[in-house]
Symmetry: C2
Subunit: 175 residues, 2 copies
C-alpha cells in the first residue's frame, strides 16, 4: 500500500494533536499502519538542536517534511501535527512527494477561540512577553490557500473532524 502524508497545520491550540492522535487510533483500528509526528517526538529528538528563529522554524519544517516522506515511502499514513505557519515551508514539504500523497489539512479555529482554550498557557505567556515570536500574536500564521481539507474545530467535535479526514482518505483511495 502506498503511504500518505496527512499534514495538519493551524494555530497553537487549534486541535492538531487531539485530531492527530484520534486519527491514528481510528486508522490503526481499521488495520491501517499510521504514525504521528508531533512536538513530543520531534522537538525533543531529531530537532532538539533547533530553536524558534525564522531560520530554525524553516529547518524544523524541512526536516519534518523529509521524515514524513520516509514514512510515506515506507507505506504508512503519517500524520504531522505542527503549526507550520509558513506557506512556503508547507509547499516545500508537499513538493517532496508525488501529487496525491500529500493531504494538507487546515485545522481552523479563530485566534480568539485558541487563546481562550490555551491548554498549556502559551498564549498567556506570550501576551506577557515571555514567549517571543509566538504564532498568531507576534509571528505570522499564513493559512493554506488550497488545502485538501478544512476542519472547523470551533463547531465540530474531534470525532467529526477525524471522520471528515477519513472520508477524504477513503474517497481518494488512500486507505
Amino acid at each position: 500500500m502506498k503511504g500518505t502524508i496527512v499534514w495538519l497545520t493551524g494555530l497553537s491550540a487549534s486541535g492538531k494533536s487531539t485530531i492527530a492522535t484520534a486519527l491514528e487510533r481510528e486508522l490503526s483500528a481499521m488495520g491501517v499502519h499510521a504514525y504521528v509526528l508531533d512536538g513530543d517526538n520531534i522537538r525533543r529528538g531529531l530537532n532538539a538542536d533547533l530553536g524558534f528563529s525564522p531560520e530554525d522554524r524553516a529547518e524544523n519544517i524541512r526536516r519534518i517534511g523529509e521524515v514524513a516522506k520516509l514514512f510515506c515511502d515506507a507505506g504508512l499514513v503519517v500524520v504531522t501535527a505542527f503549526i507550520s505557519p509558513y506557506r512556503a515551508d508547507r509547499q516545500r514539504a508537499r513538493s517532496l512527494v508525488d501529487a496525491g500523497d500529500f493531504i494538507e489539512v487546515f485545522v481552523n479555529a479563530s485566534l480568539a477561540v485558541c487563546e481562550q482554550r490555551d491548554p498549556k498557557g502559551h498564549y498567556k505567556k506570550a501576551r506577557a512577553g515571555k514567549l517571543p515570536d509566538f504564532t498568531g500574536l507576534s509571528a505570522p500564521y499564513e493559512p493554506p490557500e488550497k488545502p485538501e481539507i478544512i476542519l472547523d474545530t470551533e463547531h465540530d467535535t474531534p470525532s467529526e473532524c477525524v471522520a471528515q479526514v477519513l472520508r477524504c482518505l477513503q474517497g481518494n483511495g488512500r486507505i
Copy 2:
C-alpha cells in the same frame, strides 16, 4: 509489535546496502513491516545539508539514530546502512531506545577486500587524493567492541548473512 533497529556498520563496500536490501525483502516476505535507511534516501534528503567533516558526520549519525528511533516506535524493523565509523556515535544511537531494541551488526570485510571490490570507485578516488577523510584510508573506522552480530562478508554470501540476522531477530523474539 514492538519495532527494532538493525544497525549495520562497516567499511565502504563491506556489503551493508546489499544485506540491508535483501534483509528488507526477506522480512517483507515474512509479513514483517521493514524499511531501509541508507545513503540514497537520507543523504539526498534529510541530511542533504551535511558534508563529511567530523562534526557533520556526527550530526549525520545523530539524525539517523533519531529517525530510526521514530520508525522503531512506529513498530517497524528499520535497517540502517551507514558506515557509522565512530563508536561514540553508534553508542548514542543505541542509547535512544530500550535495551534489546537495537541490534548492532558489524558487516566485516578487510580493508584490502573492500578496496578490491570498490564498486563505486571510491577507494580509487580516495587513493588519488580526490576524496578527503575517507574511512579506512584517511579517516578512522572504529569496529564495534560488542556487536550483537558479526557478519563475515568475505566468506559468507549475502543470503547467508541475511539468514544470520533473521536467526538473531527470531531468537530474540523481535519478529
